[in-house]
Amino acid sequence: MTQTAIDVSPLPEHAFGHRSILWWATMGMVAIEGTVFALLIMTDLYLKGRNEHWPPGNILPPGLLWGTVNTIILLVSTIPNELTKRAAEKFHLRTVQLWLIVCMLFGLAFNVVRVFEFMSLNVSFDSNAYGSITWALLGFHTVHILTDWVDTGVLTVLMFTGPIDEHRFVDVSENAMYWYFVVLSWLPIYALIYFAPRIA
């Protein structure tokens, strides 16, 4: 029998999307954090079932304005996010730099508005279980936004200073992927924080 071999030297040194290692690792993080969000949502509904009124007592539901503003900011931010991702997958360095900065500005706006969101919840985390879970939902989502925003910031700096190789473009693409998760996971939480207390 002749010895044979598979010569892999002509294969590329990088890949985007589900072909890449980084995509799967990111998806692993998304699965973990998505599970935490799901459990938080279940906890919220469980506690809601435990209470006769939601919110209990004379507490007013959270003010709609800032939460809705932030939802719009998040939804619109998917546009520069997608443009960053596409530019990265075509290795357009200049375009990536541009859209990363736009993404950073969206993130900044979001985080500022988030402060007003906390201020218009009409309940403190130590008032009752309703307050605790509402703050937990909003807080946990904020941790994600902040983390990804800081992460994007580091990536933006890196794309201006170097050192760069093709793998940094994969990083940018996966970072954009993660931002979609942060945006999508907000929608059920938004509904739960702002509308569940209004229909109960």
Partner: protein, 663 residues
């Protein structure tokens, strides 16, 4: 029969033959090139920086066994205290700390980490990969495990050991009753160990999905790899529940939230739901890897491929799914609606089906084998059939609500859970250590000492835990530090304590065997047991780069099909420590990927995380200020070494992606 890979890949333009690169001399040159290029940092600093999965896997296993020994000493102290009625060796306060620390350390610091450690060591070898995926994350996971264990035992020795049981029920652990920092120590240890397990699970999944060597389609994956894949998914979906519940507990205790405070609209049963939504899958997270070790051992020593590969894989997956639907059977005594209880009884009994399927497959393997070799690993596995059957049957018993109400919180449960966890998992683990010891160390364990340890362990184990069934039926509650002589529990307790002494002797013999064999054991060949999986095709112990050249596979039992010589993989760049990334289903070659090298940053990040975690027990500001050093270490971790400044990158871009307009 699987077709020869050459047949399958005839159309593959990458297949080369009659090539000078395949001459033995050329292959030896390539091996030397790998030897010179793959970093193998030496010395203490090198040890701190290592990202080699074998180094991290081995140290995880050793560290987990250190926690096992310490938690075992605590168990021995409990047996000493209970050996006769009205004993006064331990007081109630210390006894509470001891049983809680014992259970917590065994579950969170030993059982899960040791199984994941075996996975970290073996999975890349079994799938024919040069390295593990995201190795720095695995290194970080190891350091978190180490620091978590040090934290727990340091607090225990400082008399701040957790004392409210390994499931830390509220309100006992809440701000009202759990005075001091003891429940916080428990809750934060959970965070340490879960972070460690979660990052390791991600790495294992990515390794199994993307780094399998060409030819290893999903239906050719070794069963241990299947088990680790399923378990990693269970970790990802189960462990967030306990992280969330313990975080809420810390918040209740530290900043006055009311998640579990009934008076303010919270709920104590919420804790139990969240805890057991994690806690029951946890049992399978510990148990399934053990089953994954049984398959290759049974197959190797029965000298035939394992019977019912597909049934075994599907049973693995079925167990994982059903395992998420049985948590309420831990809560039958809480007065939940009867209809709900019936559902969970049914689900709990249903899990017998996939487990029994696996047992029958292994019996069939042994039955139709070509002469069973009764080596020490095989003895442990055969004993497993017996002890796990008892644990499984008592499990079916307590799945029934009326019986459970009678036996809840008695020693019957202690007996059941030790039969399941020690019987179900530690027996196969000890078998697995025997089995893979030659691969890991290059030395054989002594068979005679091994068998002595086995028989002592088997005897001691049954002597310790079987009488507990009867004690439980007689009404002896668990977690009592002593009992009056008039209850008549003295003699069975003495028997159990004698058994515990025998277990201690058995494990000492096992340890002596390990130490002696490391020094003077017979040198191991590459494949001393004549086993079938890829890890046995490389040297014992394997080199940093695992294989040279990287093998591919053409069947499920590659080393037993010597008439086939599947093609090697050539063309990976040793300078960049490249691994071959393949497609998920059929493991066809996709692209090359440089493995991140050794780094000190995972250790520094773990230290920063440890500071944050411990600080946050005492003040919520610990999270805020602690995140600054964590951020710095993560940036240091992430910052690349390879690459060029952006200006030069512009020129490189054309090479990467030929754009229509520019050319």
């Amino acid at each position: 029969m699987n077709a020869h890979p050459l047949e399958q890949q005839k159309a593959d333009p990458r297949l080369v033959y009659d090539d000078p690169r395949l001459e033995p001399a050329a292959l030896e040159r390539e091996r030397r090139h790998h030897e010179a290029s793959w970093p193998d940092p030496r010395g203490f600093l090198g040890w701190l920086r290592s990202t080699d999965h074998k180094s991290i896997g081995l140290r995880t296993i050793v560290t987990a066994f250190v926690w096992f020994a310490m938690a075992g000493v605590l168990a021995a102290l409990m047996r000493l205290q209970l050996s006769r009625p009205e004993n006064t060796i331990l007081g109630p306060d210390l006894y509470n700390q001891i049983f809680t620390t014992h259970g917590t350390a065994m579950m969170f610091l030993f059982a899960v980490p040791v199984m994941l450690g075996m996975g970290v060591y073996l999975v890349p070898l079994q799938v024919g990969a040069r390295a593990i995926a995201v190795p720095r994350l695995v290194a970080y996971g190891y350091w978190m495990l180490l620091f978590g264990g040090i934290f727990l035992f340091a607090m225990f020795f400082a008399n701040v050991g957790p004392d409210v049981g390994w499931f830390s029920y509220v309100p006992l652990s809440g701000p009202e009753y759990g005075i001091g920092k003891r429940p916080d120590v428990w809750a934060q240890l959970i965070t340490f160990s879960e972070v460690s397990a979660l990052v390791t699970a991600i790495s294992l999944i990515v390794t199994i999905f993307k780094l399998r060597t060409p030819g290893m389609a999903l239906n050719r994956m070794p069963l241990f790899v299947w088990a680790m894949l399923v378990v990693s998914f269970m970790v990802i979906f189960a462990m967030p529940a306990v992280m969330l519940s313990s975080t809420c507990l810390i918040l209740d205790r530290l900043v006055g939230t009311h998640f579990y405070n009934y008076a303010e609209g919270g709920d104590v049963l919420l804790w139990q739901h969240l805890f057991w939504f994690f806690g029951h899958p946890e049992v399978y997270i510990i148990f399934l890897p053990a089953l994954g070790m049984i398959s290759p051992i049974v197959s190797t020593f029965s000298r035939r491929p394992v019977f019912g590969y597909l049934a075994l894989v599907l049973s693995n997956i079925a167990t994982a799914f059903i395992g998420f639907g049985v948590w309420v059977h831990h809560m039958f005594a809480t007065g939940l609606p009867q209809f709900g209880q019936s559902f969970f009884t049914a689900a709990s009994m249903m899990i017998v089906v996939p487990t029994a399927t696996q047992i029958f497959c292994w019996i069939a393997t042994i039955w139709t084998g070509r002469g069973v070799r009764f080596t020490t690993p095989m003895l442990y596995v055969l004993a497993w059939f017996f002890v796990f059957l008892i644990g499984g049957l008592t499990g079916v018993m307590v799945a029934s609500v009326p019986l459970d109400l009678q036996l809840h919180d008695t020693f019957f449960i202690v007996a059941h859970l030790h039969y399941v966890l020690i019987g179900g998992s530690v027996f196969p683990l000890l078998a697995g250590i025997h089995f893979w010891f030659p691969k890991i160390t290059g030395r054989m364990l002594n068979e005679r000492l091994g068998k002595v340890a086995f028989w002592l362990f088997f005897t001691g184990f049954n002597l310790t835990f079987f009488p507990m069934h009867i004690l439980g039926l007689q009404g002896m509650p668990r977690r009592v530090y002593t009992y009056p002589a008039a209850m008549g529990w003295g003699s069975l307790n003495l028997l159990a304590s004698i058994g515990a002494g025998i277990i201690a002797v058995a494990l000492t013999v096992y340890l002596i065997n390990v130490i002696v064999s490391l020094r003077v054991g017979a040198a191991a060949t590459d494949n001393p047991w004549d086993a079938a999986d890829l890890e046995w095709s490389t040297s014992s112990p394997p080199p940093v780069y695992n294989f040279s050249p990287q093998p591919t596979v053409g069947s499920r039992d590659p080393l037993w099909h010597t008439e086939l010589t599947p093609p090697f993989v050539i063309g990976l760049n040793p300078e960049k420590c490249e691994v071959l990334v393949t497609h998920l289903l059929d493991a066809e070659p996709d692209h090359r990927y440089p493995t991140p090298g050794p780094s000190i940053w995972p250790l520094l990040a773990a230290i920063a995380t440890t500071i944050l975690f411990i600080w946050s027990i005492f003040s919520p500001w610990g999270v805020v200020w602690g995140s600054i050093p964590l951020f710095i270490t993560l940036v240091g971790w992430f910052w690349p070494h390879r690459g060029v400044p952006p200006r030069e990158m512009e020129r490189e871009l054309a090479r990467l992606e030929p754009r229509e307009a520019t050319s």
